[in-house]
């Protein structure tokens, strides 16, 4: 009887843990992974495996060197590795993928204090790092089901010569066009998104507001069909469902989430319409990641029973 635990209330807690949440994200990413293997062949499996193991190993080693508790067990490094892999073209040399994972985990995550402390999404910075360092291999696209190199992404072809050479809508949905491994198959991404929302891992606010903003602006910019192709292509769904919803780098309350997601949508639209890149999801999310603390402060909820300052003065 002398081994009783004395601790602060509450003495019970909900079942979810960081590990179970990350596991849910991994499960939600599985359909997109299967689609990638189906579309782009077994090399995509190798690339995914390389990114994930490099990310986990990088986390393990940096924890050892920084003399911190080993945090690979929370599976967050696996999620980062998966997300980075899904953002790469299937033909990318493996050593580049390893480099991207190491930058994502060591520079962005561990050097800023590990899980929960990174101020931008590690996988996105990994991708942006590779994009700026190795522009050509990062934009060499393969057509699905073949080894034929140099197939333009729908967004690039839309930017170049309008709606003349875009794939059919069915091909857009199943992902039968050039692009990053995990971003092309819309159906797989949506299944993952619905799973995450059903499990209450993410709130629908960010994906819906993000995609909604892009949809509305693109509708005015180029009409219904143009809008559909804009939404279904170029990593918007992967970004809106899996990257913009990253807990650490998005606001915690609903109002903040809406502001953040609309901001992501607007920046994406501006980059796509006026920038010199066809794609803009990564940059828009990273920019809004950086603004997150400020959005959070400006949209803080009013505590129960607190009066607004004007009312308080009126009462006096």
């Amino acid at each position: 009887m002398n081994k009783l635990v004395v601790s602060s209330s509450p003495h019970i807690c909900a079942k979810d843990s960081v590990r179970s949440i990350m596991l849910d994200v991994i499960i939600a990413l599985v359909p997109a992974g299967i689609a990638a293997v189906w579309l782009f062949g077994f090399r995509s499996l190798w690339l995914i495996f390389t990114c994930v193991s490099a990310a986990v190993l990088a986390e393990f080693i940096s924890c050892k060197i920084l003399k911190k508790e080993n945090t690979t067990g929370d599976l967050s490094a696996v999620v980062t590795g998966l997300l980075l892999a899904y953002n790469l073209p299937v033909t990318l040399p493996l050593w580049m993928a390893v480099l991207g994972s190491v930058v994502a985990i060591v520079v962005v995550k561990q050097l800023f204090g590990g899980i929960g402390q990174n101020f931008v999404n590690p996988a996105l910075i990994g991708r942006i790092f590779l994009m700026t360092s190795f522009a050509t291999p990062m934009t060499t696209w393969t057509a699905p089901f073949t080894d034929a190199v140099s197939s333009a992404t729908p967004l690039a072809s839309m930017a170049a010569d309008g709606m003349a050479n875009v794939p059919s809508l069915v091909d857009m949905l199943i992902g039968n066009h050039g692009g990053c491994m995990g971003e092309t198959c819309v159906i797989a991404l949506v299944i993952g998104g619905i799973y995450l929302m059903a499990r209450r891992v993410i709130s629908p606010a960010i994906p819906l507001c993000y995609i909604g903003t892009v949809a509305v602006v693109m509708l005015f910019a180029g009409g219904g069909e143009y809008m559909l192709y804009q939404i279904l292509s170029g990593g918007l769904l992967l970004g809106a469902i899996f990257m913009a919803t990253d807990y650490t780098t998005s606001p915690v309350n609903l109002k903040g989430k809406i502001v953040y997601a609309v901001g992501c949508g607007l920046i994406t639209v501006f980059i796509r319409l006026f920038g010199n890149m066809a794609e803009g999801v990564s940059y828009s999310i990273v920019i809004m990641n950086i603004l997150t603390p400020h959005i959070e402060n400006l949209t803080a909820s009013k505590p129960f029973g607190f009066q607004r300052r004007k009312k308080q003065e009126a009462a006096k």
Binding site: V5, H11, C13, D16, V18, G116, N253, A300, P303, F304
Partner: protein
């Protein structure tokens, strides 16, 4: 009045968490445990000045004998719940860590009733307040605030709010009170309405207690103040029984930060508190025994039990069949807001309503890790605070921002820590932040 008319339209609140009810003992009628060999009655079982013992070693006491009292206004007398001989007066530590004197009584098992007990005669407001004080009544919801002070606020009162939500998991003591002593509940409310001249009473009950709602409504129908009595049926989501939320649910009024229910014209009483008033008026027996729920994964046969105030936890647990596994945590009160006890030799207080013994699996659900800013605590907070921000501000000791965060509004309901996937000790964070701001 029909049940339909008596039930007020529902009011929505934000936040809160769905916790497993675990009301395993709801259908167990309260049993009376045999008189324990020894009891220790603490002299401070309330918020306010501790009592001074008025018995000494060797004195013979009966059920209802005054053991301690104080001449301070905010205090509440303590009576014996057993008959026997005072064996010593010692110092004990309360669950809150405060030291206090306790009268230890070796019982004789006779339960002789004190012959000086008198039924109070009620005619004026002061009569009722005096009776409540003499009864030794404190807030039985767990706070232990002397009831005669609470019932006598300076502000005008127009609603008596009866807290019968019992939103904590496991505990069914208030529910059994409503089922077994429904008449006393209604009579107690009646006395308060009549002598304090309050126009109406609203009972706030969770909708997982339909039997209690029906029973109270039936009894109220036969009463001559039937149309001053209302029921607020609320969805069973923790923490509907938190005072600020209860008042909001019953009246739609928000208590401003740092203010009391009386500031918005309400008095909040626990359902067992009001029935205790009625029992005292009817019998003259002060508050000397409590109905407790004994439950938890380490208990052999969970049950509701009447125990004399001052009974040791170990005796209560022995009556519930003892431990079936080695207990890792013993909690006085509910699992969301109760106190973890260092041992089972602690006496039962007036405001105790449950004893829970948890096994290893239930006591250590998961390991603590870093905050991932998932925002679940923000969604769960019924006071609309942002615990994750508060933790960051506490870390750097920023008093000004903590104040802006509204930490004084926190009622330590535990929703944030309950939902936290990283198992952060957010209630402790809040308590420390409150201490800094104060």
């Amino acid at each position: 009045m029909a049940l339909r008319n008596r039930i007020l339209p529902n009011v929505k609140t934000k936040g809160g968490v769905k916790v497993d009810h675990r009301k395993n003992t709801a259908d167990y009628e309260t049993e009376t445990m045999p008189v324990p060999k020894q009891v220790a009655v603490a002299m401070s079982q309330h918020i306010g000045a501790p009592c001074v013992p008025c018995v000494k070693k060797g004195d013979t006491v009966c059920v209802g004998t005054l053991l301690g009292d104080s001449d301070q206004p905010v205090s509440s007398p303590v009576y014996s719940g057993v008959s026997g001989v005072v064996s010593s007066i010692t110092d004990i530590m309360l669950a809150t860590g405060v030291m206090t004197k306790a009268v230890v009584i070796d019982t004789d098992g006779q339960q002789t009733v004190c012959d000086q007990l008198e039924r109070p005669v009620l005619e004026t407001k002061q009569d009722l307040l005096d009776a409540v004080r003499r009864c030794g009544l404190v807030g039985l919801g767990g706070a232990g605030f002397p009831a005669h002070i609470k019932l006598n606020p300076a502000q005008p009162i127009d609603t008596l709010v009866i807290n019968a939500a019992e939103c904590e998991p496991y505990i069914t003591a208030d529910y059994r009170e409503m089922i077994e002593c429904a008449k006393d509940v209604i009579d107690g409310i009646y006395f308060i309405l009549k002598y304090l001249d309050i126009p109406k009473a609203v009972i706030v009950v969770e909708d997982n207690k339909p039997k209690a709602i029906e029973l109270l409504s039936q009894i109220a129908n036969d009463h001559n103040f039937s149309d001053r009595f209302f029921i607020m049926r609320v969805s069973s989501q923790y923490p509907k029984g938190a005072e600020k939320l209860t008042v909001y649910l019953a009246t739609g009024r928000k208590i401003p930060a740092g203010k009391l229910p009386a500031d918005v014209g309400c008095i909040v009483m626990n359902v067992s508190s009001v029935s205790t008033i009625a029992k005292y008026v009817k019998t003259g027996m002060p508050l000397v025994q409590k109905r407790l729920t004994v439950d938890g994964s380490a208990i052999v046969s969970p049950k509701n039990v009447f125990v004399p105030v001052g009974t040791y936890i170990k005796d209560v647990i022995a009556f519930a069949g003892g431990y079936k596994k080695e207990p890792k945590k013993i909690i006085m009160g509910g699992p969301m807001m109760g106190y973890a006890m260092p041992d089972d030799e602690h006496p039962i207080m007036k405001y105790s309503n449950a004893i829970l013994a948890l096994d290893e699996k239930e006591a250590y659900p998961k390991e603590m890790s870093a905050c991932i800013r998932c925002g679940r605590c923000v969604q769960a907070c019924p006071m609309r605070l942002m615990p994750t921000k508060v933790e960051a501000h506490l870390k750097v000791g920023d008093k000004e921002r903590l104040q802006k965060d509204g930490v004084l509004n926190c009622m330590e309901c535990g929703c944030c820590a309950y939902v936290c996937p990283a198992c952060r000790p957010l209630v402790q964070v809040m308590r420390r932040s409150k201490a800094i701001v104060k």
